[in-house]
Symmetry: C2
Subunit: 338 residues, 2 copies
Amino acid sequence: MPLLTGRADIDVVNWTEDRRCDRAWLLQNIPGASGLVVCFQDIVDREVVDVGGPNLRVVSTISVGYEHIDLDVMAERKIQVGYTPDILTDAVADSAVMLALMATRAAGQSYTFVKNNQWPSFNWTPFAFCGPQLSTTSFSPTRTVGFLGFGRIAHAVLARLAAFGITHCIYTPRPGAPPQTARDAHLQSKHNLTEVAPVDLPTLARRSDVLFVLAPGGPATHHLIDSAFLRQMKPSSVLVNNGRGSVVDSIALAQALKEGWIWGAGLDVVDEEAIPGGVTAEHPLVCEPRCVVLPHIGSAAQETREEMARLTARNVIAGVLGEELPVALDYSRLGSQV
Amino acid sequence: MPLLTGRADIDVVNWTEDRRCDRAWLLQNIPGASGLVVCFQDIVDREVVDVGGPNLRVVSTISVGYEHIDLDVMAERKIQVGYTPDILTDAVADSAVMLALMATRAAGQSYTFVKNNQWPSFNWTPFAFCGPQLSTTSFSPTRTVGFLGFGRIAHAVLARLAAFGITHCIYTPRPGAPPQTARDAHLQSKHNLTEVAPVDLPTLARRSDVLFVLAPGGPATHHLIDSAFLRQMKPSSVLVNNGRGSVVDSIALAQALKEGWIWGAGLDVVDEEAIPGGVTAEHPLVCEPRCVVLPHIGSAAQETREEMARLTARNVIAGVLGEELPVALDYSRLGSQV
């Protein structure tokens, strides 16, 4: 805010409540605006742009996703779109590792156990609250992590897990992407691993001890993790989704947990979160004791959100002044609606 | 169990319920036994040894701790004690990193939020559920971890955190211990850190972004983390205790959390757990929203507990047969009751 309100050449009209902006308020206040700052919950469609009028030249979103912005309309009206990729890589990688540890080590169950006043009657037994161990040890010396989606965040997760003694890293390449043999050899040597290699989906399912879902959303990845996939996973494996909820079939995953096809799951995103009010306490995954569900807080680290806010401000200021955005979404290269 | 029951030369009398052994059952069944296998909840005192009789030559505990065994009596009766140190280093280090992530990233609060059916009414705002970021980033490039107790587990935690971009490591040396300059230089270079250095307690409090308590219990460390210590910590810092509950004053920590002297805490041990029924849902730390309390599950990883069980069996078998234990507690070097 100081970056915006401190300027004499820009007038700021600001939704001041600490909650999602009312659409009616937005439509009432946008006419004549040169720039618009939004969160991922604010839908920027043709109506918003039409009501805004011809002055509108930039939409700056404080997010790495842009599913809430109609890119066809942006292209048609030549409105620049600013967003905040890359910045949140480390925060999301941290939360992915946290979810992997929470899912393997029964953190949700044991946290609830204490909260529910059950510690006083806890009879310790050697295998109480035991889950699979993320790190290797001298007596359990190999571990395979799988990645569905092997981009920047996956690489940051891999770097962290290498320190836990992970030995094998497998991933599914983007369809049609050329082999990245040199890149993989570099990662393998850098992190002192036994293997970094592309595999097909069934192999990813069969071999992963921990599977990280970090693929983009959209029709191409919709429910890639389904019943058939989950049935091939190991009973000791865990699934972590920090990417997009739509990649995982929630009903299939709940069945996999209930019937022990896999050991546990850690989710920061759930398919049904796209439906307003979709993830209730009765959601089948929220009900599964070995499933940790967090409310999409992957990038919710103070330092990261502050930097996202700074970049969002810099993007809208540049757009309003007719300058090049610090980080613009190149929607011409994305084709029609992703 | 197969290691024990598979032997023709050893009779096994086994408490078959999956809960703590009743003391009356123990006293009834121990007479004449050559070896005794216990968990840390089973008190092995003079009465047990006296009732056991002169055949008793080994006590094998499936734990790294031995506070439940009267070592003076063991020494007096020349009973060997087997235990399971080292094995659990990696499992405990994993859980320490998990607690550091959970404490910084509001995992307890956000997990409860979803469980309590609050996600459907969640109004996303840029700083909702934001906590301090464990990993460094280009825009927040330094992080200091502190260790109260800098032994094997601390080193394993440090190795993991180095991959999160931690830059500084400070610790309080054991009183009277010689400086470990070469060791520290080695750790600093191995993990590519800016600093690994011993400091005094006030400096540890003032500088740590994340403080790990991994010191042994006993009178020498009792309530070392008290009000005076906590008041010197940063408002953005978190405290993780995976060591012994007695090192941290629970009341002082609850006040520190309530009044914002520190940001959060992750505890696998709590002082009052030593009191039967001591950690209820009304315990001041369990009630603090930014405090994650787990029921002492630091080593509760399947692979680790299986290996602890194997070593416990090997220790008791060796002791019963009059052989040297694979891993014996050298209580003669510990002095009178530690």
